[in-house]
Amino acid sequence: MIRRSVPNWLFWLLSIGGIAVLLTCYELVSARQTRINPLQTTIPSFEKLSEGLRQIFRPQGLPDNPKPPMFWVDIRATLWRLVLGMGAGVGLSIVVGVMMGAYRWIEAPLRPVFMFLSKIPPTAMMPIYFAVVGTDQKMFASMVALGIFFSMTQSIYQAVRQDVTDEGINKAYTLGASEFEIIYDVIWKQILPKVIDSIRLQIGPAMVFLLAAEMVVGNAGLGYQIRMQSRILNMSVVYVYLAILAIIGLAAEWSLATLRRTLCPWFVE
């Protein structure tokens, strides 16, 4: 029957089973490919993957002039760009989205512009970023920031319009609130869980924009490294990097969900 509940133990067993089946299938396919071509690196075995894992943590450079392992260089570059871009994009989106939702005279001119610009895929705008901002750190940050800015502003604007009722605002006025207090004490607090959710949903697209930019013009970063390693068919490193990306995504999602639970105990989906 649709949506019939299953016992907890069975649910967990099936969840673990799903992962086990995936890993087993992967190892079987890898073994089969290796039988056909012992030098293949397209689907590396777990043994080769562990070698890839060791490789990314191995110090680089010459013994008398060692350099940090490639993982630290790449993860630092990518996360810093992500934090910079997300920070700028989220901050700007919150200010503009809240203002659009609060004031009709701001909403009127901006809404059609945002509707138009949000339809352009940010990756397609890369040449414009290269030409206007250059190819340094600013380019990566602005790519991420502008990539999420339009859609996130729209979702925050929608949250203000839908979640904050006119009655709530009028009542705040009757309780003696100033306009700033209504924005901070009523609108912001009401939409906070939606803002956190929106950030969570934007991490995926932000990573796509950032990795795409790194693959094209980066000199460090997860995207850059994935492109370089795939060119020499060193897939054991590529797969490890993909797993790292998944872990970053899961960690970000978990952190934001925890943040939402802590800051907004009243909110129920």
Partner: protein
């Protein structure tokens, strides 16, 4: 004992308990509406509304659907300015939603992110602290907030929600939410509180409980007057329930287009005092059957066209009552 005379207005029951309330100036009215009219495009909704409400009165407003009750309420609240006329609360013109006019909506409109206690003390926080105080003078701010929360707790106890202080709106029933909304509005001591069909979404038992709460507020008004204080609870309540209007209020007004010049917009066609009940009195609806039928005929009967002032006799009746008290 101060006697009621031609210059002295008094609530019906107040006169009966010989506590007259002398009107010293125009600003003694909690609410005053002067020649208010409202037009939507070519459609005239309200036609020359005049109304004065004294502090401590509980006024019920009834009328057919679409007659302009909400328009009038919005005008008093200050969210939709009337096309012409003036509204004063405690002598001050209404220019927008402000501290003088409280509001309780049918759908509660509590702040989801605040507990019952925080919802009630929210207005005190907005009114008595500033954003700068929160960040620059945190010790003073938190001391003030403790004081405000204690006040909110005390008010919640008064409305029977002492055990629900820490609950969020989603954890409360409709009746509990409405009591929090009432406490939230009244703790600010506004000059008048508008109740917009406050009990419309509640079941019968909960309605009765909240009606009792309003009757208790009215009793507190009487005590305040007895002690020479200004009564705290002045209410204008919109309701569809005629029994409720007569049972809870001490004055009923009816807004309707069913009068001689009805095509000019709705007007107040009924304004009369009604019997006042104590919370301990049995709910005997037979006591106001006559007035309910009169109200139904005067306000809701489309075929009964009459002069708009025929049933607008509140002040005249009050004056007569005051004279009676004076003679007695």
């Amino acid at each position: 004992m101060e006697s009621c005379n031609a210059e002295t207005h008094a609530l019906p029951l107040v006169c009966r308990v010989t506590i007259p309330f002398k009107v010293q100036s125009v600003s003694q009215y909690a609410l005053e509406i002067k020649s208010l009219s409202h037009v939507f495009g070519s459609h005239r909704v309200l036609n020359n509304i005049n109304l004065q409400v004294l502090p401590g009165q509980i006024v019920a407003m009834v009328g057919p659907s679409g007659c302009g009750k909400s328009t009038l309420l919005k005008a008093i609240l200050g969210t939709d300015a009337p096309t012409s006329g003036e509204i004063l609360t405690d002598g001050m013109p209404v220019r927008g939603p402000n501290r003088n006019v409280g509001i309780v909506y049918q759908n509660y409109s509590l702040y989801d992110f605040l507990t019952a206690e925080q919802n009630v003390s929210f207005g005190l926080k907005l009114d008595e602290t500033t954003i700068w105080m929160r960040f620059l003078s945190t010790r003073k701010y938190f001391a003030k907030r403790r004081e405000q929360n204690a006040k909110a707790q005390a008010f919640l106890h008064r409305v029977g929600l002492g055990n629900a202080c820490g609950k969020f709106p989603r954890e409360m029933s409709g009746g509990m939410k409405q009591r929090v909304a009432v406490a939230q509005a009244f703790i600010m001591r506004p000059k008048i509180v508008l109740l917009d069909e406050p009990f419309g979404a509640l079941d019968e038992a909960m309605r009765e409980e909240l009606q009792m709460m309003l009757l208790r507020f009215y009793q507190e008004n009487l005590i305040a007057k007895k002690e020479g204080r200004r009564p705290e609870y002045t209410i204008l309540m919109v309701t569809h329930e005629l029994n409720e209007a007569i049972y809870v209020a001490d004055r009923v007004i009816g807004l309707s287009r069913f009068y001689n010049e009805g095509d000019q917009g709705a007007a107040i066609v009924y304004d009369r005092p009604c019997p006042v009940f104590s919370p301990d009195d049995p709910r005997d609806f037979s006591k106001f059957v006559k007035q309910r039928d009169e109200l139904r005929k005067a306000v809701f009967d489309e075929s009964y066209v009459k002069d708009r002032d025929k049933y607008v006799t509140f002040w005249k009746e009050l004056s007569e009552l005051a004279n009676d008290v004076a003679k007695a």
